[in-house]
Structure formats: C-alpha cells, structure tokens
C-alpha cells in the first residue's frame, strides 16, 4: 500500500490528528480521547501516519507519545511546483503559435 504524505492527508481523521499534533505532542491516549471514533481506529490512523513518516511515536514512561515530523509534510505543499514546467512548456508552445498566427495574418 502507498505510504506517503498524500496518503497520510487523504483521510479527514488523519488530517485532524496532524492538526492536533502540529500544536503539541500528545500521548496516544490523549489523541484517542479527542475523537469520537474508536480507539482501534485511532491506533490504525496513527500507524498509517507513522508509516507515512508524518509522526514519530516514542515510549515515555508508561505512555507512548506522538511527535509530528513537519519536514515530511513539505511535499504536500510543494507538489504544485511539479506542474510548473508542464504549463511553462505549454505556454511556450502557445506563445510561439500566436506569433506564427500573427505573421500569417499580415
């Protein structure tokens, strides 16, 4: 199964978990308490977020704590750039065509 930032943010509960953890690190129990969904469901979301590299889970005493990994969220905000080149090329082609069209009309 795909495990990347886009997979991580594809689910509304996971987005809410990211939102929560971006404010502060929380124990797994505290995260679970914030949601109506079942504890196993939360555990599963946390597992996916961990596999996607968006959180780290560390044992501290009797509790497991979740830490956001902001660096791994970067691609979600940068992916738009991937399309820049494609559109630049298309507009180059358009501009060139317009000039040809203009010359034909002379």
């Amino acid at each position: 199964m795909r495990r990347d930032v886009f997979q991580a943010i594809a689910d509304p509960v996971r987005r809410d978990i990211i939102k929560l953890l971006s404010k502060q690190s929380l124990s797994v129990n505290s995260v679970a308490k914030q949601f109506e969904v079942s504890r196993p469901a939360i555990s599963k979301h946390l597992k996916i977020l961990k596999e996607c590299g968006l959180i780290e889970v560390t044992q501290q005493g009797r509790e497991r704590f979740c830490f956001i990994q902001p660096a791994n969220l970067l691609p979600a905000f940068l992916w738009i750039e991937q399309y820049r080149e494609l559109w630049e090329e298309r507009l180059d082609s358009f501009e060139q065509y317009v000039i040809e069209l203009k010359n034909e009309k002379k």
Binding site: K19, S22, P70, E81, Y83, S93, E95, V98, L101, K102
Partner: protein, 154 residues
C-alpha cells in the same frame, strides 16, 4: 495565516507578454483548430473532441501517447469575458482532477499581457476544512514548516 496566502500556496501563476494583439491571442486560445496546434507537447497530436465555448459549456481534448495510452483533458467553462478573461474547471486524467484554470488577457498596445493561473484542487477541500476550523491547524503546520525551512537554510 490569511486565506489569500493559502490561495497563493496552491496557485501556479504564469505570466507572459506576448508580442501580438489581444484579438489574435484570444483567437489562438479559444478556437479549436488553433488549440489543437499548440496544446500538446511537440510530436503529440491533440484532438479537440468537444469545445462548447460558452458559460456552462464543456470542452474535451485528447492526446495520444506514443504507447497508445490517452491523456484526457476536460472541463466546463465557468466564466467568459471576451478578450479579457476565461475561467474553467479542468480535469487532467489520470494525473490531476479538480483544477481551475484562469486565463487573463490584457491588451497593451500591440502586445498582450497574458496571465495564466492554475488553482489546484485543495480549494474545495480547504473550504470544507475551513468551516470546521481546520485552517487554524494547517496554519500551525505551515508555521512549523516555515521554522523548519528557515532552520535548514541557515
């Protein structure tokens, strides 16, 4: 974070000053015979399947890849203001869906200032999330990212 910042982050904005009058630029952008000539990358043939150039009208272009696979681009015109502005939804299958394209034409003597915006799909998603107070959360994620990037660039 304000919403215009958020919009910037998912908008790809390109600008060209084209050495041709706005009428010609408009014609090349809006007429199917012309579109077929420039839409696709070199060596790839574009077919204009549909082009109902009116608000609510749909358009559909296909490009055949060398391996026989088809790239489909399609959308519905949302706003047409002759010689000035065209707004359309766009789906690029199988890559991207739910994009909005904005083409802005501005005459400057015999030249045309052409601005092209590609607004990426998080829009609907963001709006929906915004209602639920989600943007506040993203705000702090962005802040974290900004901190991170500034640390990296030091």
């Amino acid at each position: 974070m304000n919403s215009s910042n958020e919009l910037d982050k998912r908008t790809l904005s390109l600008k060209r000053i084209i050495d041709a009058p706005v009428e010609i630029v408009w014609e090349a952008w809006t007429q199917p015979d012309h579109i077929a000539q420039w839409w696709g990358p070199k060596g790839m043939q574009t077919k204009v399947i549909e082009h109902q150039f009116e608000v609510g009208g749909s358009w559909k272009f296909t490009m055949e890849m060398p391996n026989g696979a088809e790239f489909i681009s399609e959308g519905v015109f949302a706003e047409i203001s002759p010689l000035k502005k065209i707004v359309t939804s766009a789906e690029f299958k199988p890559m991207t869906t739910g994009v909005q394209l904005q083409a802005l034409f501005q005459a400057q003597g015999e030249k045309t200032i052409f601005t092209f915006n590609v607004v990426h799909p998080t829009e609907a998603y963001c709006k929906q999330q915004e209602k639920m107070g989600f943007m506040n959360g993203w705000g702090s994620v962005f802040n974290n990212l900004e901190d991170y990037v500034s640390v990296m660039s030091q």
